[in-house]
Symmetry: C2
Subunit: 403 residues, 2 copies
């Protein structure tokens, strides 16, 4: 998996359509991606009130604020997972990440924070794929470098607090050589998909290397339960729920097409929006620009300085103007970050009201965000420091899980 | 690896050129493939007297009759292997087979008989790849079926008498899941080769599945020594010599292009001609036609009956005509089979002379062949009967080899 907002060169010709692929995201307006339009483009469903109500009723849990606030905004057949939950039929969670050499930024935590919460609510096994092979194929990196990056990223993922008895984390360059059944499923998927199909879905062309062309099968395979015989045995009917960024959807549209042909249920999905760069919701996050976001390795001082200096403000140009006209929460990055990370709905709503009215000044809004991010990053750093090689070995060892 | 003479549908447009790919062989004349022309087409070298002399001088061994008789007729940089042998630098042998559901026929033994001899002469390690994944991708077979076929074929290969201390035999569906370094090399190769390149080399098109498009990297990987860390450690400079049918050359042309980019020496090759069907040297062997060749499971009676009934004769239409005009050894399949399997040069030359002159009648020529094949098949069957699961486990276990 790769984060689209750090995308590579566009491979598709773009009309007035916005472009979202796993490797490239291009909005066609300066207000960023139009997510309602993307749902239509992709043919997914909006996560609506009815679905949220049913989820809350079935699980007895309030929906996560990522769902309540439209951060996870789109889905594919999530209702089927709720059916299974109701009928006590088995399913599992699958998410992943394309390891990057840079320390993760706070936005990278979103799928993991959410997946951890889903794991707690549903009490199901979880597999997490690190696509070091994808990074190797797309970037000018050695195999060894991508493996090392995967290991560092795995520490950050473990630090999110996953249950070691229910979670298997793997990198492709390691796991393909540990589990013959995984490669067998990769080959089964590869036989079902033509070059013309991946050309249509991902925009691959004749000058792309054959590794890229074949790769989608490797990201698809974890959605088939018998890819993990040590967890699911030979069972093919364990359904799969994939929480991921919407840019990853092309992989799983393909997977949903192939899975039934191989006797598996179609994987179901929950899609999140992109995480904005400090510079503004319409700008791309740049992995090479340390000022484009808050990283999990940042110090208190760096966090304070970055937010104050770079976080795009939706406030007035002067205090007088701000007090008169109020701030615009929709474009204010500090408010948007609070929308992602401030769990308290009432506190967030008060900030929104006061900032919109002009009562709350940008400096104070940023102060709230700085304190929250400093706490969040410190908590993460503390948790990460406890992730020893032994802990990594436990999470990454192919083994049976409790569920 | 696949035997071209059992080829699939042609994927390339054919002018007046003969077509030889790993999956299809089409001659453009009724005298079969023009091998001299093929050497020019492929850009390989003819195995000439000078090279044979040097081989014999260096090894102190007479060249194998497959070499002396032009059955292994073409090479790529075999002289570099002789250089290494002279300089006592390490190299290894690599050959393989695409497992088929049918029992092997005698022609399938040719690369193995020859490779066993090379192993003895050079005293070097050998790896043998069973491309069950290739058969899965190209044929309408299940993974399980191709795995079972690979196991049966492995028994036949072991029965050829390879040294268990120097030979590692593997099937892709098994080994890819046992050795992370193998997949890492597959990915390294896949990054170096574009769709346009495999389109040019193999004739793949947009409607081919992505598994076929990516497969050549899997047949290329065993030519890189660090694909087998349990044999060669991390060494990248162990050269590789590949004895194979000429139809497999496209895979290794590609490999020779990629290997230096990854810091490996180019693999060297020894190419063999195709083995003729009983029905004639210009006809294709059909795996589904039990009468097209002698199978290693045939009884004495079947061998006798097939040779007498189906082996295309280059003799005269009547005894009188034969005695007057003589027989044509070039098209006589019985003679051609003797050329492959009768080791005694003097005996073969006598048969050739007597048959050409008309002195030796077809019936007697066939009788000689029948006796030889019966003995050869019986010897094979006896050897195969001793190949227990334990013996298979020894050959197929990733382990260090003696050399």
């Amino acid at each position: 998996m790769s984060s689209g907002v750090e995308g590579d060169v566009a491979k598709m010709e773009l009309g007035d359509e916005q472009l979202v692929t796993p490797w490239n995201v291009v909005a066609n307006s300066n207000t960023g991606i139009d997510y309602d339009k993307l749902i239509v483009q992709f043919g997914s469903q909006k996560i609506g009130t009815e679905l949220i109500d049913r989820f809350e009723k079935l699980t007895g849990r309030k929906a996560h604020h990522f769902i309540r606030r439209g951060i996870f905004f789109s889905h594919r057949e999530f209702e089927k997972i709720l059916d299974r939950y109701e009928q006590k039929k088995p399913f599992y969670l699958y998410t992943g990440r394309g390891p990057s050499s840079d320390a993760l930024h706070v936005g990278h935590l979103i799928p993991f924070i959410f997946t951890k919460w889903l794991q707690e609510v549903f009490n199901v096994p979880l597999v997490i794929q690190l696509t070091d092979d994808e990074k190797f194929l797309w970037k000018d990196l050695t195999v060894e470098k991508t493996l090392a990056m995967a290991k560092e990223n795995i520490k950050d993922i473990i630090a999110c607090g996953f249950d070691p008895d229910k979670t298997f984390i793997f990198s492709d360059f390691q796991f393909l050589g540990q589990c013959p059944e995984f490669y067998r499923n990769v080959a089964r998927i590869q036989r079902q998909v033509t070059f013309n199909q991946v050309k249509g879905i991902f925009g691959f062309g004749g000058s792309d290397c054959i590794g890229k062309i074949a790769f989608p099968a490797i990201q698809a395979a974890p959605a088939l339960s018998n890819s993990f015989p040590f967890i699911f045995g030979e069972q093919k009917d364990v359904a799969c729920l994939i929480p991921c960024g919407i840019d990853q959807d092309p992989f799983f549209r393909m997977t949903r097409d192939v899975a039934p042909k191989l006797g598996h249920p179609k994987p179901c999905l929950l899609h999140s929006v992109f995480f904005p760069a400090l510079q503004g919701i319409q700008t791309k996050m740049s992995a090479s620009d340390p000022n484009s976001s808050i990283f999990l390795t940042d110090t208190d001082k760096q966090i304070k300085s970055k937010v104050n200096k770079y976080a795009f403000s939706g406030g007035g140009a002067t205090v007088e103007e701000h007090k008169e006209k109020g701030g615009n929460c929709d474009v204010d990055v500090s408010f948007q970050y609070l929308r992602f990370f401030l769990e308290d709905d009432d506190a967030l709503e008060k900030i929104r009201k006061d900032y919109t009215s002009g009562e709350l000044l940008t400096g104070y809004l940023k102060k709230d965000l700085i304190e929250l991010l400093q706490k969040m990053v410190k908590t993460h750093q503390t948790a990460r420091a406890t992730v020893t090689d032994e802990v990594i070995a436990k999470f990454t060892s192919p083994r049976s899980l409790k569920f």
